[in-house]
């Protein structure tokens, strides 16, 4: 039997409530509560937190620089260690929220998110956003491959010897021309397939497992507001 899974809308509500609570309670006690909740979720999903957070190493310099800039003074007493507390707590809050976001991404196929967006956002804006996100997912690998192929072609022709702004222009003129041409073909293909405002979406449905999730989200919001 398939394991019961949370509806993507419940997961989005949990993330939003967690973010609101973490911002309101950026204290050691508050962050202990949000960490415990995210910890339970990591255990329930059964992923390694290290593997989960590896792509976010790019944020590390900003997390380290915050406390550093806060403690250093340009005149005596040169260092005020107490001022590192606020940015350090904010940095830790980022780690908690990024982990929650990464868990959502790990457990939710883009197709389900697309359906959730189209159901959560009312009207045509939600439809357009859902369709566009799906298209980004499909075209991103192609765009990345093309950019990398163009750069390789420039490199072997000694393009690296040119000034940077000329290299950027050269890379982008080709890429943009291809993108605009591809957009015209895509538009034609979408019209040929009768793109409609009321497409058949993949089914997402609330089940009994969503009840505790929504309760936790409500409790987090109540903790923030009350």
């Amino acid at each position: 039997m398939q394991r019961p899974r949370l509806d993507p809308r419940t997961k989005l509500a949990l993330q939003a409530a967690l973010a609101v609570a973490a911002f309101e309670h950026t204290t050691p006690r508050g962050l202990a509560v949000t960490t415990a909740l995210v910890g339970v979720a990591v255990l329930a999903v059964g992923v390694s937190p290290v593997g989960l957070l590896r792509p976010y190493v790019v944020l590390l310099p900003f997390l380290v620089a915050g406390p550093l800039f806060a403690v250093v003074r340009l005149r005596p007493p040169w260092l005020v260690l107490g001022d590192a507390v606020t940015p350090a707590l904010a940095g830790y809050r980022t780690v908690v929220l990024v982990t929650a976001g990464a868990l959502y991404v790990r457990t939710t196929p883009v197709r389900e998110s697309e359906a959730a967006i189209q159901r959560l956002l009312p009207g045509r804006v939600g439809r357009l956003l859902g369709i566009a996100v799906g298209l980004v997912f499909r075209f991103l690998p192609l765009v990345r491959r093309e950019l990398s192929a163009t750069r390789n072609a420039m490199r072997v022709r000694l393009g690296t010897e040119q000034p940077v702004h000329e290299r950027i222009s050269r890379l982008l003129i080709g890429t943009l021309t291809r993108t605009l041409r591809r957009a015209d073909r895509l538009g034609l293909a979408l019209r040929a397939r009768c793109l409609s405002w009321n497409p058949t979406l993949p089914e997402i449905r609330f089940s009994w497992v969503d009840a505790p999730g929504l309760l936790v989200a409500a409790a987090l919001v109540a903790w923030t507001v009350l």
């Binding site: 904010a90 980022t94 990464a102 075209f139 940077v164 003129i173 943009l176 979406l201």
Partner: protein, 194 residues
Amino acid sequence: MSTEFESVDPVGEEVVGNLARTALFAALMGGFAYVSFPNPFAPGIPVTLQVLGVFLAGIMLGPLWGGFSLVVYLVAGAVGVPVFASGATGLGTLLGPTGGYLLSYPVAAAAVGLVVHRGPTLRSLGDTSTALLVGGMVLGTLVVYGGGVLGLVVFGGYGFAGAVSAGVVAFLPAEGLKIAAAVGIVRSDAITAA
């Protein structure tokens, strides 16, 4: 699959065309997150193309669809499409120290588009003076860095001076290069003909 028992309501031709351009521009922004060039002003900090993508979205798609394209980019990243730098994804990335830059992108694209097209409707780029193009992109740069500093203060817990030192000073000189590149791109025959 869920079934809807109603007649098909087709999306209009103009909207479909704009939607295709919008989505492909958002995908292009995702591609730009993985491209960097050496920085002649600060060798340790590579020049990335995302801010240039923001300028071009406003210039090529106009304020409305350009801004929407960047909203699509952010939502795609939030739900797990690896469009941000280093493949970072999820809502948490938007609420981290660099979230201010990302969240400012739609506003910046709309601002660039509004200045360059002198209003919400698209005009031919051939009629736009270079001064207006540059002015629009300078405004876009201000919006992105203003958002970035605000993000470092609100999400990162930085003080204002620390946020400006860490988030603006080292990165700003390279923006001139991007503006020069964008003018070259917009004025090229290939783009004018497309």
